[in-house]
């Protein structure tokens, strides 16, 4: 979780209206903190009022009448409880039986987001919606060399979890350009990271449907309204309409009620206000598009992260064009075969080295005196990664040259031996 630079606790305190996650052992429940509202969790009911003003992560006991009391300082005996809880925390991923979050809870979490949790907890919960296991996410962030000050392209359909994780590792420095399919970028998961507002200034978005135009240099960034008509035309239309309208009252002045007149004027005012708001929104959208395009057209981005349900091959081949040489890229896919296709295509086309198709296995251990043993093995279900490094684009001619050069080098060696 992003925390304020001066290390104050203000952002970590619970307020009314916050959505929080209640945790008891390995059971989680998302609720909203509301005044005098009864909450039921783990077969107990209580009120969250006394939690307001406390720090996230505080432990409470349920006292008489359902009011929360701060839990007394812990003894090491208590830790045993939380230690096991800490382990089970990660088990939620694999074993459907130990999952106690109901469908409702998951929907609530999805919609409303979390607050005050460590990233690894967020990751554990979000994995429900995205098949992306946290150890795979860890690999993505490190193999992608995600760090402050770089310019990273992200294309993901993991509800913003990957985007948020990338942004957290950038720390508000540099820029992130989120490529999105369809209408607009989804960022629900990213919002739950609770970034300070200046982080959002580093985040840009660009629609996939305009990528080809940008690459061809034909992207139109001039002022247009939603219908794609030139602005001047449409504004003429609206002013024409208002002219008509303004002429009406004059002719009906004699017979119409004064109130009716006021209503008409009010309607007209609202209409114009809406048109004005629309204009402002369109202008904002245009500006955002222009700034994202400016970042992309240099074709010098520092990294590419793809994690989506789309076929990765065309996405990768399309977006790699924006990446500078000698930069890493990472593609996540739930399945292996599409990544094999990517690998093959990259080999044919050139421009990428150190290609690796990997997946990771994760094993948890219970560590207790005389009772230490592995408890869970997660393998295969975490998805697959294709990673590599870009290099200066390779022409077919020089590649063949390399092949023949290899033969030359071998021959030279033999000559050296024979002449020795």
């Amino acid at each position: 979780m992003a925390e304020s630079v001066n290390d104050s606790d203000a952002e970590s305190r619970i307020s009314f209206g916050d959505y929080v996650v209640l945790k008891r052992g390995d059971v989680f429940k998302s609720v909203q903190v509301e005044n005098k509202k009864k909450v039921i969790f783990e077969k107990q009911w209580f009120f969250l009022d006394n939690a307001v003003g406390q720090l996230f992560g505080t432990r409470f006991e349920i006292g008489a009448g359902g009011s929360l009391k701060l839990k007394a300082a812990k003894h090491s005996g208590d830790s045993l409880d939380s230690k096991e809880a800490g382990q089970d925390n990660r088990h939620i991923l694999d074993d459907g039986k130990s999952q106690k979050l109901t469908r409702d809870d998951i929907e609530t979490l999805k919609e409303q987001g979390l607050k005050g949790q460590h990233l690894y907890s967020i990751v554990n919960v979000f994995v429900y919606f995205s098949h992306l296991r946290y150890d795979t996410l860890a690999q993505i962030l490190t193999l992608g060399n995600i760090h402050a000050g770089s310019k990273i392209l992200v294309f993901e359909t993991c509800a913003g979890l990957v985007l948020g994780s990338v942004m957290e590792r950038m720390g508000g420095f540099g820029s992130v350009i989120q490529m999105y399919p369809g209408g607009g970028p989804t960022r629900a998961g990213m919002e739950s990271f609770g970034f300070p507002s200046h982080f959002h200034e580093t985040l840009h978005e660009f629609p996939l449907c305009k990528v080809n135009a940008l690459l061809a240099g034909t992207l139109d960034l001039s002022e247009k309204d939603a219908d794609g008509n030139r602005r001047s035309e449409s504004s003429q239309e609206t002013s024409g309409v208002s002219e008509e309208r303004s002429s009406e009252p004059q002719s009906m002045e004699v017979s119409v009620d004064q109130q009716e007149e006021m209503r008409r004027v009010e309607r007209e005012r609202l209409r114009e206000q809406k048109a004005q708001e629309k204009k402002v929104k369109m202008e904002e959208k245009r500006k955002k598009l222009a700034s994202a395009a400016a970042l992309l057209e240099g074709r010098n981005a520092d990294g590419l992260v793809i994690a989506s349900r789309f076929h990765p091959c065309p996405v990768l081949m399309g977006l790699l064009k924006f990446i500078a040489p000698s930069r890493p890229f990472v593609v996540y896919c739930q399945y292996r075969e599409p990544l094999i296709e990517c690998y093959t295509k990259l080999r044919e086309q050139g421009g990428a080295i150190s290609l690796r198709l990997t997946d990771s296995w994760l094993r948890h251990y219970q560590v207790l005196p005389n009772r230490t043993h592995p408890v869970l093995l997660m393998s295969g279900g975490g998805g697959y990664l294709l990673s590599g490094t870009t290099v200066a684009a390779d022409s077919a001619k020089t590649r063949n040259q390399h092949k023949s050069e290899e033969h030359v080098a071998k021959r030279l060696k033999l000559d050296e031996i024979s002449s020795a």
Partner: protein, 293 residues
């Protein structure tokens, strides 16, 4: 160039990675007038490297060519000179995520070893964080300091040559995370705890042997750490290849106008096979949280 910031053009004094082919890379320091031998011939630094773009192809004296890459902690991990057994990217990636490292984090690490994890931490916490790393072997501590300087990251790190179990990290109450990769981590838990901020933080201990893990978990418990969790992560690399599978000959079909398969025909498949042996065990990772004081 630096290990925490990308640049476009190669300059004198840069450390670059020469890529000669699959699994064949080497780091070199760029010096005007110098030459480096590769399997494809010599590279002249002044003409072939300085002023060139990272990622470009360099033709060597014998005619073959190599790529010149910008260094990253991941490339460094597989190319650095080993002074000790090192941590590899798979473990490093999980440590980074589970310690919640990010720009601005203050991290304590012991032992520094060959600096594999150190470089990765520095990349993640830059530009506003700091790494306090402790190495009890004087020569290794010295070598580490040298490398950090060469890699233009020394402003982000303090190397201390001392025994972390006796003398701690040299700082108290300022760390967001502590990492231990030492033979007896349980002996350093007290110091680790005092190094962490009052508001709490994370700890990770890496140990190859389960007995070490048991003693460490016990010590963590005794010191009031919570959410103690031990895990192991292994990376499996899939070998992408083309395979040719022959088709069987069942003889000519009755009433069939199709041309029978008279043998010798086959199908080409692109597939990926896992390696025969999984990657070996590196170590167990034990994580825990120090709660707010």
């Amino acid at each position: 160039m630096s290990f925490v910031e990308y640049s476009e053009i190669i300059q004198e004094g840069d450390v670059v990675i020469i890529f000669q082919g699959h699994e064949s890379m080497m780091p070199i320091k760029v010096q005007s007038g110098a030459q480096t031998q590769t399997r494809y011939g010599a590279i002249r630094h002044s003409s072939d490297l300085i002023g060139q773009r990272f990622g470009s192809k360099v033709t060597c004296s014998k005619g073959g060519w190599v790529y010149v890459l910008h260094p990253t902690p991941e490339l460094w991990t597989v190319n650095l000179p080993h002074r000790t057994q090192i941590l590899y990217t798979t473990d490093i990636a999980n440590i980074t995520l589970m310690l919640e490292l990010k720009p601005g984090s203050v991290v304590c690490e012991s032992g520094t070893g060959s600096g594999s994890l150190s470089h990765s931490i520095l990349r993640t916490i830059a530009p506003t964080g700091h790494l306090h790393t402790v190495e009890f072997h004087a020569q290794r501590a010295e070598k580490a300091m040298q490398e950090f300087k060469e890699h233009k990251v020394s402003h982000l790190v303090t190397v201390r040559n001392q025994d972390v179990c006796k003398d701690g990290f040299g700082i108290t109450g300022i760390a967001d995370a502590v990492f231990l990769d030492i033979p007896s981590p349980w002996e350093a838990i007290t110091h680790a705890k005092s190094a962490i901020k009052r508001k709490g933080g994370r700890i990770c201990s890496f140990s190859p042997c389960i007995e070490q893990v048991q003693r460490t978990c016990e010590a963590l418990l005794d010191h009031g750490f919570e959410e103690i969790c031990t895990l192991e992560v292994l990376l499996r690399v899939h070998d992408v290849r083309t395979v040719t599978l022959p088709l069987p000959d069942f003889g000519p079909e009755e009433d069939s106008t199709d041309i029978p398969n008279t043998g010798n025909s086959s199908v080409i498949c692109r597939t990926a096979t896992p390696p025969r042996e999984m990657a070996g065990h590196t170590g167990y990772l034990t994580f825990a949280t120090k709660p707010r004081d």
